[in-house]
Symmetry: C2
Subunit: 215 residues, 2 copies
DNA sequence: TAGATTGTTAATCGATTAACAATC
DNA sequence: TAGATTGTTAATCGATTAACAATC
């Protein structure tokens, strides 16, 4: 991370995890180096775009050689902030909440679920992949005492903003929202609204176009 | 849908579900009409962009009045292809698969899960929200016999492409992929790769920026 | 060194915003 | 009719691609 004077566009940031994912696959295959041209044909962005994107953050390559796969993977990880651990809580122990707990468990990433919160007394006290399901009433105290970084919202859209407000009050620095509503946060709390069903609608659009074209 | 001569950019298509979601909320609140200016302050796009976006598909408004909320909601639904029913199958009865079945059950949308497919004998024969879990071996026959439109991939990334190939062979017209890999399909099969964890990486990026800024 | 490939500037392309004439 | 607001063209802005000098 050498430069970073100008603001990086969101389009660039959205591409970084994809670069990282491909680099990780190469790394696991034992590939040492890659040129922007080789990477281009693999990942589907132009070589020019790849070099342009990376040079927003620094000169990670070497002229005449290319990029070190391992090195670039680590650089991008650091840029994304993935070189540290994030403590998270999940609100809502339904299937989606469970799926997320399970995912972090399965992939063993730097994102660790420390607690799950629920209002349903049936679920409180149980445990999901070794993580305790607790009463939603105690969430503020838990977030404060455990230095939780991220709140994951897996509730209905009706209570999502309320839950978000409480999590922000308790001191999280980021929210990952799966409720179908746009969560608002104070400017110091980052938020990512996922909107899974909107991607299904986009799929439906492309499917009807494909059908229309045949006529 | 009057025009549609030129190709619509993906940026526009991604905004359509969001327009629709906000219109649905207005509709439920009993709001009859909305101007592009009012809509702008609600949804956070410029009035100009809203008008520009909509006029890709037709003149849905009325000068001096605005847009009919109900009318525009229906138009956008039709553009997205949401005025019909989609039959779907889920592959993988883990937590994510369950969450999706539950979601379509809960929201009663036009997307109906007709079957769930698994390789784990422990799960085959069970039922999730009234949908039977079947042996993955029988998926091609099922898709053919039940005119399935969409395959939902909730498997590991190792088998995801293989599952995709089989679904395409069986005749689905769209794939909704949750495995962390980019699924390839023949051009007549639409595909939406979700990549949930990439949105978490983007969140991490914004969180580290916020922290850096404080320094 | 010569060849390869980056880093970076310049050119192009596309998407967003502004402006305003058309019209309800 | 006058006022409001769309539909649409023109201007601007930003992102992508192309080109090439720098350099390993």
């Amino acid at each position: 991370m050498k430069k970073q004077q100008t603001k990086i566009s969101n389009a660039v940031i959205r591409r970084l995890p994809r670069y990282r994912r491909y680099l990780n696959e190469l790394r696991k295959k034992g590939v040492d180096k890659i040129s922007s041209n080789e990477f281009s044909s693999l990942i589907g962005y132009t070589a020019s775009q790849i070099r342009q994107d990376l040079n927003n953050f620094g000169g990670f390559g070497q002229q005449g050689y290319g990029y070190s796969v391992e090195g670039l993977y680590n650089e991008i990880s650091a840029i994304l902030g993935l070189d540290r651990e994030y403590k998270m809580v999940v609100v809502g122990a339904g299937n989606l909440g469970k799926a997320i707990v399970n995912h972090t468990y399965y992939y063993k990433t730097g994102f660790v679920v420390k607690g799950i919160f629920e209002v349903d007394p049936e679920l409180i006290g149980k445990s999901i992949n070794g993580v305790e399901v607790m009463d939603y009433e105690g969430i503020v105290e838990f977030v404060e005492n455990n230095n939780i970084d991220i709140g994951i919202i897996c509730t209905t859209k009706e209570v999502a903003q309320e839950v978000a407000d409480r999590l922000c009050f308790a001191g999280v620095r980021g929210l990952w929202n799966f409720a179908p509503i746009d969560i608002e946060t104070p400017s110091h709390v980052a938020v990512e609204n996922v909107h899974i069903s909107e991607s299904l609608h986009s799929l439906a659009y492309h499917m009807s176009r494909a059908t229309d074209d045949k006529k």
